[in-house]
């Protein structure tokens, strides 16, 4: 294999059941190891992926996750994208507040996972589904 930037294939997983959340964790862990993230960074990324995949399942009514090994010439990293066609998030600021939940969770999923990764972006609107993208780079 050559070291062309972001040349690796994107892996895609459906999220329709609890067991799929576990599969997402395992895939993200594998790619994080390929990207040579430290053990702590791997753990943070996998934990964030677990929270976001559960959100996709519980609040988005299911969806899919794409995981990709990325490179910017100097470093390698992992990008994961969580998307669903669910109801979307009406008040994003509120949803990103620690302890706020629209369901019966702890309200740490979105706010907490944002703290665990290097890059975090979210694209959502009422009725338009939700797309969350996270990236963590090797040091």
């Amino acid at each position: 294999m050559t070291t062309a930037p972001s040349a690796t294939a994107t892996e895609r997983l459906e999220v329709r059941a609890d067991s799929d959340v576990v599969r997402v964790r395992q895939l993200v862990r594998t790619v994080a190891q390929q990207a040579r993230l430290s053990l702590v960074d791997q753990t943070k990324l996998v934990t964030a992926a677990s929270e976001l995949a559960r959100n996709t399942l519980v609040y988005g009514g299911g969806g899919e996750v794409e995981v990709e090994l990325v490179a910017d010439g100097r470093r390698s990293g992992v990008r994961a994208v969580f998307s669903d066609e669910g109801p979307g998030i009406a008040d994003l600021d509120l949803a990103l507040t620690d302890g706020w939940t629209s369901g019966n969770g702890l309200g740490l999923g979105l706010s907490g996972s944002r703290r665990l990764v290097e890059q975090f972006s979210i694209d959502t609107a009422p009725g338009a589904g939700t797309r969350v993208e996270i990236v963590t780079w090797s040091r």
């Binding site: 067991s19 964790r25 395992q26 996998v46 934990t47």
Partner: protein
């Protein structure tokens, strides 16, 4: 649904060693199974070994806190043992503190933490009785 997590009984303590990547429904099942076993056996302590867990996210964290609270109501104490350092760092950053959950570094220390609670109370009573007799 994946396989249930086995619960072992050692004296008056229940020991659970989580060796698989826990999916949410399995975690909830474990919570119910433990409550049922505490009531049925009259166990006074629960040790949950999470050294096999690569992550503790908000769902698993909540399950651990719930088990501790449920067992307290059922007159048993819970100790969570074996957390990996990377898991501890991540959990705190996520915002989970596991307040109200007792922890120990490994199973041995966890069991020791539970045992003296009964023994020391007993030895205090014995010492008090001995003192009365010597007067």
């Amino acid at each position: 649904m994946s396989d249930a997590v086995p619960i072992l009984k050692i004296g008056s303590t229940l020991l659970v060693s989580i060796q698989v990547d826990l999916q949410d429904d399995t975690a909830l099942q474990l919570q119910e199974d433990l409550a049922e076993r505490i009531t049925r056996t009259g166990a006074r302590g629960v040790v949950i070994d999470i050294s096999g867990l690569e992550i503790v996210d908000s769902f698993i964290g909540r399950m651990l806190a719930s088990v501790a609270a449920i067992s307290r109501v059922l007159d048993a104490q819970t100790v969570v043992v074996g957390m990996r350092p990377a898991v501890a760092i991540t959990m705190v950053e996520l915002g989970l503190s596991l307040g109200g959950v007792r922890t120990a570094l490994d199973v041995e220390r966890g069991l020791a933490m539970l045992a003296p609670a009964h023994e020391s109370a007993e030895s205090v009573l014995l010492a008090a009785a001995a003192e009365r007799e010597s007067r």
